[in-house]
Amino acid sequence: MILLPCPWCGPRNVAEFGYVGEAGPRPDPASAGPEEWRGYLYGRANPCGWVAESWYHRMGCRRYISVERHTLSNEVRPLATEGAGR
């Protein structure tokens, strides 16, 4: 079981978290066309390598956190997050 570095709770079992995944910015709904919008809905880079992604610490601090994870080795490293620390 991999450990995720929660900036609030410290390293925790991944089972405590909900997977959100690659986090893309939400396009401006006023100007986005269908292609751009559906790229946001369905498109994923799906790299075999490092990816920045979000998780929800469901069983812990209930914060959405960001980490970088290597999708082949499952190595994880923290990403600077708002309010990190305690």
Binding site: G21, P34, C48, N74
Partner: protein, 429 residues
């Protein structure tokens, strides 16, 4: 319509008689498929030597006489999803498009042993999808009704009949997940997955198709500008190959391969794990699936129980497997069949699944001319091997997208027309 090609030439026909002769005479055996020199040009290059790629090659040759075909695999044939799935076949899908497609696949599977002269051991022992709450019971009814309309044998059955089919199931009401009913699908069953791969490989090779194992595609050559891109060939770790048609039949790496041709696919790759127990005396005939408990169970002729589940909770390419998986799996299996507590888990493994947003594949042409895809197979790719091969071969040979795969075009995502398998396929094995 292309003419029916010459009959295939098997290196040696399999039969009990030929075995007997071999047993008595002790003569040397003939390879099931040949190792060939890698040419620098083929009419068609197929990336991925799994059931999809090999079936496509086989049907190109068998149905259309197109034999200047190379199948490339970075490992050995069937080393990907084809050799890692739990070998369950069924056609009890939710949407008419899905049902039609998989029904064709089951029908091809039914006669595959005879077609390929290779016993793939398709065992139609029936398939039960359990419902533990009224919403999943409703989905079972939905699937049954659509199935029947498409001529596929499916019906909703109650606990008493379920108990008759699978005596080891706990159908009492006093459990955490009571069994309220099930979708019973008699034509569903299990097959020897490796045999399907080897049978297609042997069949394709018999027609002259080249199968190149340990040959990794490192790039795809595409000519032209943004408005008229066309595929020219592939680069591999063993040399470049020119080809006017390149088909991406990979699973687990489909987005990486497509990106080599500049095609982006709405796919995310997830590990899917499975496990098998030590053999015990056969007691389980039907394939048992529980969507709510995320588990499916079948027993092989060797006595092993084969377990699968839904994809891992997070995306990635890791095939190392996890303890959480077998823990959850065991808990859920025992919820269904408590008397299996002393059966021992022997081996766990993982494969990769390319998940699309609507739990349906992506098939056919892409914005790059000559570059075709047969990808996005999620957890249901093995079931679709024969029909996909047949349809992709049709697509290449005729230059038209066959009706049976028309719903699965990549453009549906940008157009916001997703297919409706999502509800049923979350765990639909």
């Amino acid at each position: 319509m292309p003419t029916r090609p010459r009959p295939r030439r098997y290196p040696a026909r399999y039969s009990a008689f030929s075995l007997l002769r071999h047993g008595l005479a002790g003569d040397h055996l003939v390879p099931a498929w040949r190792d060939r020199e890698l040419k620098n040009s083929y009419d068609v290059v197929i990336i991925g030597g799994g059931v999809h790629g090999l079936a496509t090659a086989y049907y190109l040759a068998a149905n259309h006489g197109i034999t200047d075909v190379a199948v490339l695999d970075k490992g050995y044939v069937g080393s990907g999803g084809s050799g890692r799935n739990t070998a369950i076949l069924r056609s009890n899908y939710l949407t008419p498009e899905g049902v039609r497609f998989y029904d064709r696949s089951v029908r091809l599977y039914e006669r595959l042993a005879a077609d390929l002269n290779y016993n793939v051991m398709f065992s139609q022992r029936g398939h039960l999808t359990l419902a533990h709450n009224d919403s999943s019971l409703r989905t079972m009814r939905w699937r049954a009704e659509v199935n029947k309309l498409e001529g596929v044998d499916s019906e909703v059955v109650g606990p008493a009949e379920i108990k008759k089919l699978v005596p080891y199931l706990d159908v009492s009401a006093a459990v955490r997940y009571p069994i309220l009913g099930a979708l019973y699908h008699p034509p569903g069953g299990i097959i020897r997955h490796d045999a399907v791969v080897w049978g297609y490989a042997r069949g394709a090779s018999g027609y002259g198709v080249h199968i190149h194992q340990n040959t990794e595609v490192t790039g795809i050559d595409v000519a032209g500008g943004p408005n008229g891109r066309r595929v020219r060939g592939v680069r591999t770790d063993r040399g470049d190959i020119a080809a006017s048609t390149v088909i991406n039949c990979t699973a687990g790496w489909s987005t990486l391969v497509a990106e080599m041709a500049g095609v982006r696919l709405p796919i995310q790759t997830f590990p899917l794990q499975a496990a098998v127990t030590e053999p015990v005396r056969p007691f389980l005939d039907a394939v048992v699936v529980s969507g709510s408990l995320h588990v499916y169970v079948s027993q092989t002729d060797r006595g092993e129980l084969v377990f699968g589940a839904s994809v891992d909770p997070f995306a990635g390419y890791s095939m190392r497997g996890s303890l959480e998986f077998v823990e959850g799996l065991a808990g859920h299996v025992l919820e269904l069949m408590p008397s299996l507590a002393k059966v021992r888990l022997l081996r766990q493994w993982a494969g990769l699944c390319d998940m699309t947003p609507d739990f349906s594949p992506i098939m056919g042409r892409t914005p790059v001319d000559g570059f075709l895809v047969d990808v996005g197979w999620g957890t249901y790719g093995f079931k679709a091997g024969p029909v996909s091969g047949e349809a992709m071969a049709d697509c290449v040979a005729t230059g038209r997208t066959p009706d049976i795969i028309a719903p699965f075009g990549v453009e549906r995502f940008a157009e916001g027309r997703l297919l409706g398998e999502k509800g049923a396929a979350a765990v639909g094995h």
